[in-house]
Amino acid sequence: MALVHVTLDKSLIKDTVRRDATVSRIVELTGMANINQQRLHRYGIVSGEVSASKLPEIRDIENVQAVESDETKYAVAS
């Protein structure tokens, strides 16, 4: 299981019906765990833990713009 961030189409931020339906679809298809919906209403982003094998399925869901793994960032000094 890996933490991923799912960015929904921007139009869904204000369309709560389609937004909630899309999130439900993601959870139903992937069994996403530890779901974080705190960024959903403001940014249209839902995060959670899914099996790596489910990434292509999430990407294929209607109204999903992007799926990205939680990565490491570094201080940019040399």
Binding site: H5, R39, G44, S47, E68, D70, E71, K73, Y74, S78
Partner: protein, 435 residues
């Protein structure tokens, strides 16, 4: 995500003798996995796995895979003629900070600096021969000399380059909140004395670490933006001494952090009323690799709410040998990518470049041998686009104070006043100038 998640990272690196399509078949056979697809942010990475197994990433063009094989599988892999090595996937940290020669801080013709440099060399020799001390491994000792030399220049070369004078008083950043998302801050540093770093103005998003900066990078960046006008070092180096600093610790004391925590920090800065978010952080990006949607969406929304976001372009190049493209998240259209220049207005040799239509360079600022506050109440000079970024954040605060407006209009004012330096692929629109 937290440090505990490091334990979930792949345990081994498998190096093949050469890149080949056959490598994928070999992994499938030995590890009993299959291709799942590609990671959207890493187009050349094949993701492999199976139900119940840890993910394996195969970087086809490199002939390298990261995976968590069992002991038996490791033995099997090592026996394959196509495999060069199977090694532990070790945690890496940021490179050692660069402490430039004392001369780069001082005026070339300054006799006292030359004298200090000579003294340092003598002491180095004595310590090395008789006491066994290697100064290069003792940044605390190095720091005392750089600070001493810098005192001769009571006004940072960086501030001179952006058009400030010792008597500059047109704007100070008063009333403007600037969020620094980095490794935290030295809460006891004399150059932040009188600041209220408690309650809602400082927050750590790093599990198990307070906002106290155990790295120094965050303190250095915050110092450039808004440390005291009269530094205890005797050197004026802060761009906007009257800004209200918001300190979000999103990188741990090793200088590493997770997207999840950084996005939390951006949202926190928004809720705290930040007008500018400064992020001297990033990760490498390949040419034509997409920018990150996670950061772009967040920045897009925050920008529409009146927040300007700047980020370091990256230090991935090695001119004149090669250049690398602008990092993520600086490559995002809604985030301003900052390049670094030296005191001769030449591009920083390690600075990432504009190499595709995705990661554009926006602007330049001083970023080589930058003097500022550091951890444990000290000072030092560091190089990097990390150091250029807070200069832009500080200058933006000055413009905001004089022209409370949308980020787009503020940014246009900044661009209208830049000093063109040359190739936009190295310098963006040019060197930032104060209003």
């Amino acid at each position: 995500m937290s440090e505990a998640d490091l334990s979930k990272r792949p345990t081994h690196i498998i190096v093949f003798k050469k890149p080949s399509e056959a490598n994928e078949k070999l992994l499938a056979q030995v590890l009993d996995i299959h291709e799942l697809g590609e990671i959207s942010t890493q187009a050349s990475c094949v993701v492999m796995g199976s139900e119940g197994s840890e993910q394996t990433n195969l970087y086809e063009s490199l002939g390298v895979a990261v995976s968590s094989p069992t002991d038996d599988q490791i033995i099997d892999l090592k026996e394959r003629s196509e495999v060069l090595s199977v090694e532990l996937n070790q945690v890496r940290s940021i490179p050692p900070l660069f402490f430039p020669q004392i001369a780069s801080l001082a005026q070339p013709s300054d006799p006292l600096s030359a004298y200090l440099r000579g003294m340092r060399d003598i002491i180095d020799a004595i310590e090395s021969f008789h006491l066994g001390i290697d100064r290069k491994s003792r940044p605390d000792l190095q720091d005392s000399f750089t600070a001493l030399a810098a005192r001769r220049n009571t006004f940072s070369w960086c501030l001179q380059q952006i058009g400030m004078t010792p008597n500059y008083s047109i704007a100070t950043g008063s009333g403007i909140k600037v969020a620094v998302l980095d490794t935290g801050i030295d809460l006891n540093h004399p150059d932040f004395e009188g600041r209220i770093f408690e309650g809602d103005n400082v927050k750590s998003f790093v599990t198990g670490e307070s906002a106290q900066d155990g790295n120094g990078h965050g303190t250095h960046c915050a110092g450039v933006i808004g440390s005291a006008r009269r530094s205890a070092s005797g050197v004026r180096y802060s761009v906007a001494p009257d800004v209200d600093l918001l300190i979000g610790k999103v990188l741990n004391n090793e200088g590493k952090g997770y997207d999840d925590d950084i996005i939390k920090g951006m949202n926190w800065a928004r809720d705290r009323g930040a007008k500018i978010i400064s992020m001297s952080l990033g990760s490498n990006r390949n040419v034509n690799q997409p920018y990150t949607s996670l950061y772009e969406r967040t920045a897009d929304i925050l920008s529409s709410e009146g927040i300007l976001i700047v980020a370091a372009a990256g230090n991935s190049s090695s001119r004149p040998h090669f250049t690398r493209p602008v990092n993520n998240p600086a490559a995002c259209p809604s985030i301003k990518a900052v390049a670094a220049i030296d005191e001769n207005q030449k591009v920083y040799s390690s600075g990432s470049a504009q190499m595709d239509k995705i990661g554009t360079l926006d602007i330049s600022a001083p970023g080589v041998a930058v003097f500022s506050a550091y951890k444990n109440g000290t000072y030092t000079t560091i190089s990097g686009t990390s150091m250029a970024t807070p200069h832009i954040a500080g200058v933006a605060a000055l413009y905001y104070q004089l022209n409370p407006d949308t980020p787009a209009k503020i940014w246009q004012l900044i661009l209208d006043n830049t000093l063109p330096l040359g190739d936009v692929n190295d310098y963006g629109f040019g060197l930032v100038q104060v209003p």
